[in-house]
Subunit: 635 residues, 2 copies
């Protein structure tokens, strides 16, 4: 195995190197103004005609000669003869040559004989739009390097310009590479990876004004990679090759660029995004993007976007910034800049942000991200409750109405998030999977609006409220039922190991997949063990933890575990069997101030809507019989 090490060049320095060494050459083209929305001018545009091209009435009324109106007053009304002294005129009509003012129709009394009575004189040029009031022939309408907005097109047309010089969209080749790559629509096999990166990369490029073309994918073969790069260099102004940019024994991109052109660097001191290659071949800029989706998209934004914006002569848009309180600690490695995706909500009077997963392979983290926390290379991270500034991925106005659900996750919360968006477009709902205990604590600290919980208390045989009372004895809390749901064994089709009770698992060697500490399902499993007098070490796999029901089912589906405890819809999603074990209560905890808010009201309306309840129950294993009912509140 060949060992290549990546360099650790700071991101800004890497960008400077790239911009200094590579450039997209400027090409212009004529564009019809009525098709030029969002196009960027390559030249200043000056008006050909004036608008209006003649003096025109600015009001409906009569055109007059102002000097003939002097002296008119309440006491001495003036009578004007048609044709001779006045003309009827409508807004926009040309002022007849002999007239120099317009009197509004409201200020005129017409007599039966056609004469017009006025009670005040007209000042010269009143209510007249003079030639060039809007655009004057010869004046600058639009400067060079200006992205055209709707009103700009109007001014151009008003100034007699129907065609303009614009910058051509740079043509970008997007080359997917990797022998494991298949088309996203193709049937999936073990070891194959659907190429969704190309669609995302091309979509970003389009948003930035470029013209991307996704090329056929290239296997991990040095010759074919060279050939693809050489072919692209002939036709395109920027070449982006995705994956193969790292230093493994099937990563041929760097060697190919080195052989055909000039690599500027290989490796950036930022995560995700480290294994990036920047260089040029035949004078054309080439970017080798990492294969992990999050790394690829970040790297694309850091390096392709500035190159394209420089081509258009446009300033790089900056993300809005927001000060937030961290709901959780964020640790970071020294020497590496990190981009951490965050979920953000406005709880009581401040923005609370929680880190999402940091996996470079988790596209969903970019879907869910409300903001990005950039941890500089010289920082070890931040403590819980610290205030930090993040870059926003969604407008602040939206985040102000983003509800944060912490705690145990249930699929009904997903349904709820979607229903909420449909009903109240201004509201949205983000979930942080903290487990029931973590969620209750987060609501207690004022760092989440609500927490999903299904904690069984063996002593009282009640759910959740005993925990709330213990953890926050004097807090103003409300517990509202969301659903009852069936917990059971998630097992391969046909239940080959015959699992029915927790006893069947003990000493059986059947590999179990557990949930994380603090999760309600974990507490339920421990309770089942205790009831049977079993100790955890008699369960093979007790230590192996997953964070969601779906991930437990996924492990069983993949065959890396034989059984897990979870809910029916998770088993269904993977076409697995489900052995019902116990019905548990799943509630939402919230404090009094949120409970009484309009946002909570919108949630309750959905939860108690029979149509919504039907949809939830159709997922299987749910009963909505008490949905929306109070299950406990502080006096």
């Amino acid at each position: 195995m060949r060992k290549v090490y990546l360099s650790n060049i700071p991101r800004r320095e890497a960008l400077e190197k790239f911009l200094a060494g590579a450039e997209i050459p400027q090409h212009t083209e004529k564009t019809a103004v009525d098709e030029a929305l969002d196009r960027v001018t390559s030249k200043a545009v000056f008006a050909r005609y004036s608008m209006p091209g003649y003096h025109a009435a600015a009001m409906d009324g009569i055109a007059v000669q102002s000097q003939k109106t002097f002296g008119a007053s309440d006491q001495a009304p003036l009578l004007l003869k048609p044709e001779q002294d006045y003309h009827n005129i409508n807004t926009g009509e040309p002022l007849p040559a002999e007239f120099d003012a317009v009197i509004k129709v409201e200020d005129v009394q017409f007599h039966q004989d056609g004469r017009a009575e006025i009670l005040a004189p007209a000042t010269p040029w009143q209510h007249v739009r003079s030639v060039g009031e809007d655009v004057v022939s010869g004046e600058l309408i639009i400067p060079s390097r200006h992205p055209l907005r709707p009103q700009d097109l109007g001014a151009l047309l008003a100034g007699g310009i129907t065609e303009i010089d614009t910058l051509k969209a740079p043509r970008v080749a997007v080359i997917p590479s990797g022998s494991e790559i298949i088309d996203p629509g193709e049937e999936r096999k073990k070891g194959s990876i659907p190429d969704f990166n190309s669609t995302v990369i091309a979509s970003y490029l389009k948003q930035w004004g470029a013209h991307p073309e996704v090329k056929p994918s290239v296997p991990d073969d040095p010759d074919q990679i060279r050939e693809a790069l050489l072919g692209a260099v002939k036709e395109y102004e920027l070449i982006i090759i995705n994956a193969g940019s790292s230093a493994g024994d099937k990563d041929f991109t760097y060697a190919a660029i080195e052989e055909l052109g000039e690599p500027f660097l290989h490796g950036v001191a930022t995560r995700p995004g480290k294994p990036t290659i920047l260089g040029k071949i035949g004078g054309k800029p080439v970017i080798g993007l990492p294969g992990y989706p999050v790394s690829a998209y970040m790297s694309l934004e850091w390096f392709a976007r500035p190159l394209i914006y420089r081509y258009f002569g446009l300033p790089l848009p900056e993300r809005d910034k927001l000060k937030v309180t961290l709901g959780r600690r964020v640790v970071s490695e020294l020497g590496v800049e990190e981009f951490i995706r965050m979920s953000v909500g406005f709880v009581e009077d401040r923005y609370i942000a929680n880190p999402l997963t940091r996996g470079a392979g988790v596209t969903m983290s970019l879907v869910r991200a409300d903001g990005l926390l950039v941890v500089p290379a010289n920082s070890l991270g931040y403590e819980q409750d610290e205030t930090v500034e993040i870059e926003l991925c969604r407008p602040e106005a939206e985040l102000r109405h983003n509800l944060l659900a912490a705690g145990s996750h249930d699929l009904i919360l997903d349904l709820l998030a979607s229903a909420l968006k449909e009903r109240a477009p201004y509201l949205s709902l983000s979930s942080a999977h903290l487990g029931s205990m973590g969620g209750i604590a987060a609501v207690g600290r004022g760092q989440a609006h609500l927490a999903g919980a299904h904690l069984f208390d063996p002593e009282s045989k009640d759910y959740n409220w005993p925990y709330v009372e213990k953890m926050m004895p004097r807090a103003d809390m409300h517990l509202v039922n969301l659903a009852y749901r069936m917990q059971g064994w998630i097992v391969p089709r046909g239940n080959p190991d015959g699992i029915e009770t927790v006893g069947n698992l003990a000493d059986s060697g059947v590999s179990f997949i557990n949930r994380q500490k603090g999760a309600g399902t974990r507490i339920l499993f421990d309770h089942l063990l205790r009831e049977e007098g079993l100790s955890p070490d008699r369960i093979y796999g007790y230590e192996r933890e997953e964070h969601t029901h779906l991930n437990v089912a996924a492990a069983v589906a993949a065959g890396t575990a034989r059984v897990g405890l979870g809910i029916l819809p998770a088993a269904r999603a993977f076409d697995l069997d489900f052995v019902p074990l116990v019905e548990e209560r799943y509630d939402l905890l919230m404090n009094g101030s949120f409970y009484n808010s309009s946002e909570a009201k919108a949630l309750f309306e959905i939860i108690t809507d029979p149509h919504f309840q039907e949809k939830a129950e159709a997922m299987g294993g749910y009963s909505m019989r008490d949905a929306g009912k109070s299950m406990g509140k502080a006096n």
Copy 2:
């Protein structure tokens, strides 16, 4: 003449009425995910497959069974046999069934016999991407009513979704009306108005996600207007008819809507935009927009946009807000809400905003607007230096680098604005036409970065500096030459009145068009009169004022004046004759702090660039021989 009065319904109330009475019915369609950028989902989308669909290596290295690695350490290295104890594996490759961990290639020493030496044990599942790490089969990928971003498309494809249900773009008919309307490309005649509104309206609708179609224009004829509306109602989901919405004798839109359907209101208490009609015909929403461009676009935004956003179930985006100091007083009428277009720049340490023209017919004011000041109906306006909040039309980051030029306008400033954008994309230059005196005062008050001035001082025979010294004796000011330019008589082709000297004008009856008080050209004209011992009342038209050279030339071209004083390029723009009279100096005034800024440096670089000077001189009547030279500074 029929008299119809418009109602004065507050804008918000008007919108509520409209939204309560009219609606775009929902239509959905299937869209391929790779073409779904910016489309809005009509249903929540759940994953079909997990991503990854198998346990995969998260690093290049070797796959191992973790339990076989226990005990490995620096002191007791462990040797693993190929095939049996380990497999080479690359990032993304499936983990062979018998293995449960990956050791990074950097942590492995390969021996010649193929055995792999490790110095630390592997923990179970280390460097393994487990099934569903990105997307888990069954989980919510995208909620309903979500506008799709690039990363969303990636997550959908990763979850096995290649086609989704989206909301169809509502089809909108844009009907231009008015007998005076011609195609923007058609030859212009007196009384004809090129239809640029339709292009602007259609472009806005496109930006908001609708599918507009511009229909053939309809003359001011009740039957044809009815017919056009009825035809559109059959085919489209929203009908927008432009102009004819007021209450003149050629405004038939209201009557047509009344006859065919139900008008909700006619007239909104906001300016511009008052003569708006909202109603419905055959259940389809209909908007009658005013004919003046600014009114039309504002009214479109107030009423069409919320309807379309509600259709998509999206929150209406809000403009960013900014606190600014008013550089000039803003007066407003009681009882009417006003939207005033503003230019904004960051001078020293605060944002300075000046109102642009309020003419509803001035498209250019929307091109130039950096922000909108909304004056409520119950306000009489604001005083100079007052702090007000405005809505932004451009990002604040751009405005922070927007240079404000006040004072006398010269066409070279337009060239400069365009050259600046090309050279320094982050910088831009806005001009407020205040005349030389007004400009000097604005720089003195710290409300403009620079002022163009060409004030001749008859005593010292010097330009500008004597005025600066008089107005601001102790201020830290710098005066830099921009150009010398020829002032002369702008006259019809062939100079039919034989104007050569100011004496030719006196008592001649030849109608003169003057410039506003405080303008350098006005001061020059007054100086010429004094030199000849002439009093202003001997000049016919002395009281008639225009604010720019181009507007003076426009008046001469339109025949409403026979002569004006101005610069050669203005005469050229209108194909008029020019009689050179005197060369004057045109300087830029700025304070010391701006003079030493990097922004000023960028300006000086352009001004002294021979290529730029060539372009300026090519406009005619300019000499750039001293461009960039200091013409005075405070010690």
